[in-house]
Assembly symmetry: C3
Homo-oligomer: 482 residues x 3
């Protein structure tokens, strides 16, 4: 405990240090984007309406869906992880801390991507939205490690992970020109396999053992449902956040259908594999959401309502079976312990989403999409001037690489493989670095226990004790909780 | 228990079967609406802005209020019903399952209404919003039955109820051309009386008896407040969801005033009728919302701020008195057990809302509404070409039936009577079908108990027990919760 | 108890009376604003789109941020205060009651400000938004008094406070033409110092003593985090609610940066000052939000991303140090008891926000803001016709007072001083009036105890007790909770 205490002080210093570095970097690199800059004449109009003219069309206004995504990240992820009996305060508290650091890191990572020598990188509502989406990735990885790390280990992991996330997304989206509207690959699969790789490294040293605090309580299960339901209901916003117009509407419809279907099938499968045909809270808290992950890549595609329902159902089935049969196996054989079962919610459904997206890309034709085919899959647009002219003039289509449907599908699958590969390799390296003592380590008995992170009050759990009022000594200040 | 176990397996099969049928029907009947269809040239413009042109005006953009309504249905209804001491997981879990099934059913029901031989029915954001509103109806009925049914009984009820809901709303809204912006009649009164009719059928066989789990705990009451407060604060969105422009703004203002007033009066009445002038959590969780129901039909009408406050105050008063005096009476005399007291939150306030709406319709004149009278009450628009010409050309008014204010008020009352009538009759029939064993039955001792639905962990309720760490046996996998 | 019971009945009558007065005042003073009025021809267009023409631009549509602010007031404030072990129902319930009354009072206060002899005051979405913001002020003061008053004392305080709030904001905003976009001064500093002044008056009579119920429990701390996280994530909406266009975007970005930075630094400082370098829940629940308060005044100004981060970090640091060192001192020396520590979340960060705003105003130049300088600081606009002409014609700038940057900064500081002064003086007077018995008083043993306000059920805390099912007597109705 004494050693931990020393290490505790060091961690505090590291935490201050991280925020100072972030302030310095933000000062050096970032500025307001033109839409948020007072000194930008195009923001100001010809009289009337307080002189504003450059009004965003409602269709492209990030404020339509941004607040919903924001709720998912902070309330959804935070409360989803409160299911552990004695780790609820850490779950919600550390998500909060980690999120607040990583949203700044994500902005800087995006800023570096857009960096130009002569000017600072712009911040806009779009950047904030992108940062929220990026932050989801390390929070997913955190789910695999919940209760087994110090907070500074998570911070350290999150920063490295966001850098690799940015690299991988840049490769997939800009270099290989692949579509992943709801980030099934870039966020979900990446976050899950990265976290599992880290957990594998942790398990190499200490074989995962049974821990008596690793279970839920009646109330902690209900707290977790706050997270589940908010994630579930705003998932259509998450998957449609990067889209506009009819693509966005389609993504909302597809996601709602897929996640509804996965919810029903997850309940049914849970009862099927459980004793006495009862439901299991872990399945309900997690697998009900698998349809949102699985429709992600294809959310904006013309996969038809029935396609969205089908992939959602499959994801729900797969996810519950994963919890029941695969997770124990992975833990026993590979020594990978997965506290929240992110492999079942984000890993497998993410891969399924990537494959389904490739399939839909392979089936996409100009007959079913008209010219918006070339908006959704820019790499499929013609590269010859002759064919492009009319489209460009009338619909603003840019030149592409003239990819066929099959080629696009191939690229989609390639990026899925690359994503999982980068996630695993960088996760292994990150895990090795985390196991060194610089960020502290927690002992076996501190696992899954809020006492490791929080000054807890002795609780008067029994009603009688409360009524009696055992006074702590007259002169002490009453605000014992401060 | 053995028998229940068999029945449990059958229920699981039914649950899978329902989702499969939904996928088949959705595949056969539904497609993307034009606004969500990539192959719809009007979605694509002349260059610029990624080629988008068909931009929605902010005033008619469903994304302004849809997310709020979505929160009401899934978080609001779900958590409102968590007040029972040992039925919180079922309350939130079964609302979740039921909602996920019924939102698909509601889309299909709407699709059938719009069905044309030669083309599939369109899905749009508007359909999703309508489906959310429709789903509220069976969730209200569920409130009367909470803790007394199997989940498949609820699913079965919900599907039948949504069909009748669709028929009734079609008759009221399209055939009899009645206004019910906030669905006081179509959703609230219908859902309440349908549920009470089902409960009546259940009570015919088994007289409702006192049950020791039918009460709240300290924390379950706070969980329920999550539901109450989210319902309360987004109710203006619910009542204004179907409206636009000034009608929508007026509905928001009226609803906020009415529900604020009902909140204050519900608190005051609760203290008035309770021992020692204290507040009662059941009243606060429910009756505070009665003003939202009561202003529903008239939400978009010119009922003046003071009118909205007055009807809200009356609803709050009525609702608390109902909980205190009417519910026990109904249970004793009519053997209708009403777990959440939906008669007091949705039944009586819904009827009050219908009557208040008729009154406001009866007072509506061209002097106070100008030509928007004919937008709000389309049946009142002139049917003669001469009178209509100018309005049509300048304000887009269509020909109506030339109804007088009195006639419109009469139609409003007629639809209220029809709604309650259809609800009761179809509820009785549904209840009789539910009592047959196809969907299972729960025993007296399983009532209001999460054990009937969930694999619960034995809880280590005492702090000491947690600290000691009673290990369950060395070789077992630690993830006991999976 | 008998005496309290009498007083209880009187309080109920007062509560009814307040709502009746509000209905009368609303009837006498308020009407629908033109945007919500059916009888306003400009709401109706030339055909098409159901005759609507006067469509709001998305940029100025209050529905973009209003729902988020609404969540902050009702969920955020309500749940933030549930941290006390046995006062959770009162925290969420009384916030609910108080809010429902005061939102009506706030509308009437604004209505009186806009009052004209010949016509009623208009209600619009903007009024509802302003009312929400105003209601935050007495809810902040309530935080200082939580657990130590009757509900009618809070209602009485809230009404007086809103009147003084309206006067102070009118003086600052309209007479002295000061900028306070996120209301660091008008809401946060005012609410905190008003509440502390009331608490001072309460402490003059009874020295604050240690109370055994004044602490959190494991679950109450998690409930409070619902409030914290919703406040944290929607704070950018609060600070940007009154702004438009690039100002609004900038306010969102600045607030997100500042509140993220304060979150990280609050965690770090909490661990720094606590035993064993652990986090403290009180700090995490409150001080993480201090950055939102501190950036308030300057939210729409060009303070640069790095400026926002820096002021947030400073606020987080100040706030935790306040909890640790200043609050105990203030309680001991000044006998001011501050239940939620509003001085640390709203008081000091509010003053910091006012000073930072003055500093930014002092640094604002036409070079960095272009002509929007005169939109953001209207008093700095030229008053001479010659200089004004081009700006007015091209950008809609109105004539101002030709203030220099330094003068504007001076006015900002003056208003900060006036605000704190009015808050303290009117808080002292209000406190003296509250101590008289008209609104009841609560005894020392009723403090921080839900029993003072609620009919609580005896809880069956032990699992076994639930299982046994101690039946209460056969004939009694089962719905013991009604």
């Amino acid at each position: 405990m004494g050693m931990f205490s020393v290490s505790g002080k060091q961690q505090v210093c590291q935490l201050f240090f991280v925020q100072v570095i972030l302030i310095v970097l933000m000062g050096a690199l970032m500025t307001y984007g033109p839409e948020a800059d007072a000194n930008s004449l195009k923001n100001h109009g010809q009289t009337g309406d307080h002189g504003r003219k450059h009004v965003k069309k409602p269709d492209t206004d990030p404020l339509r869906v941004y607040p919903n995504v924001h709720v998912m990240i902070w309330i959804g992820f935070g409360f989803l992880m409160t299911f552990l009996r004695r780790y609820g305060q850490s779950a919600i508290g550390l998500t909060f801390l980690l999120g607040a650091i990583l949203i700044q890191v994500a902005m800087i990572c995006e800023g570096v991507t857009n960096f130009q020598i002569d000017s600072a990188s712009p911040l806009s509502l779009k950047s904030l939205l992108n940062a929220d989406v990026a932050v989801a990735t390390p929070l997913i990885s955190m789910g695999a490690l919940l209760g087994k790390t110090t907070y500074m280990q998570l911070v350290f992991m999150g920063i490295l992970e966001l850098i690799m996330f940015t690299v991988n997304k840049y490769v997939g989206e800009h270099l290989l020109m692949v579509v992943d509207a709801g980030d099934s690959m870039f966020v979900h699969a990446f976050g899950a396999y990265f976290g599992l790789a880290v957990s594998f490294v942790f398990g190499m040293k200490d074989k995962p053992k049974e821990h008596n605090l690793e279970g839920a309580s009646y109330n902690s299960d209900i707290f977790a449902m706050i997270g589940t339901v908010f994630l579930w209901l705003f998932w259509p916003s998450f998957n449609s956040a990067a889209l506009q117009g009819d693509d966005q509407q389609r993504a909302i419809i597809n996601t709602l259908l897929s996640i509804s279907s996965s919810c029903v099938i997850a309940f049914a499968t849970s009862a099927l594999v459980s004793k006495d045909s009862k439901f299991n809270m872990v399945h309900v808290q997690n697998s009900t959401l698998a349809g949102g992950v699985a429709i992600g890549t294809a959310a904006g595609m013309m996969c038809k309502p029935v396609g969205a329902l089908a992939v959602g159902a499959l994801a729900g089935l797969l996810s519950v079976l994963g919890y029941k049969y695969l997770t124990p196996l992975i833990q026993k054989r590979l020594r990978i312990h997965d506290t929240c079962g992110v492999h079942n919610l984000h890993g497998m459904p993410g891969v399924l989403g990537g494959i389904f997206g490739a399939l839909m890309a392979g089936l996409a034709t100009e007959a079913s999409y008209d010219y918006s085919l070339y908006e959704i899959f820019p790499a499929r647009a013609p590269n010859s001037e002759a064919k492009l002219a009319e489209m460009r003039d009338n619909y603003g289509i840019s030149a592409g690489f003239n990819r066929t449907a099959g080629e696009q599908a191939g690229y989609q699958l390639l990026v899925l493989v690359i994503t999982v590969g980068i996630a695993i390799v960088s996760g292994l390296v990150t895990g090795l670095m985390m196991r060194m003592s610089i960020c502290g380590l927690i002992s076996e008995e501190q696992k899954f226990d809020d006492e490791a992170n929080w000054e807890l009050e002795e609780e008067a759990t029994q009603e009688s004790k409360i009524k009696e009022g055992n006074s702590y000594g007259g002169d002490q200040l009453p605000m014992a909780h401060i």
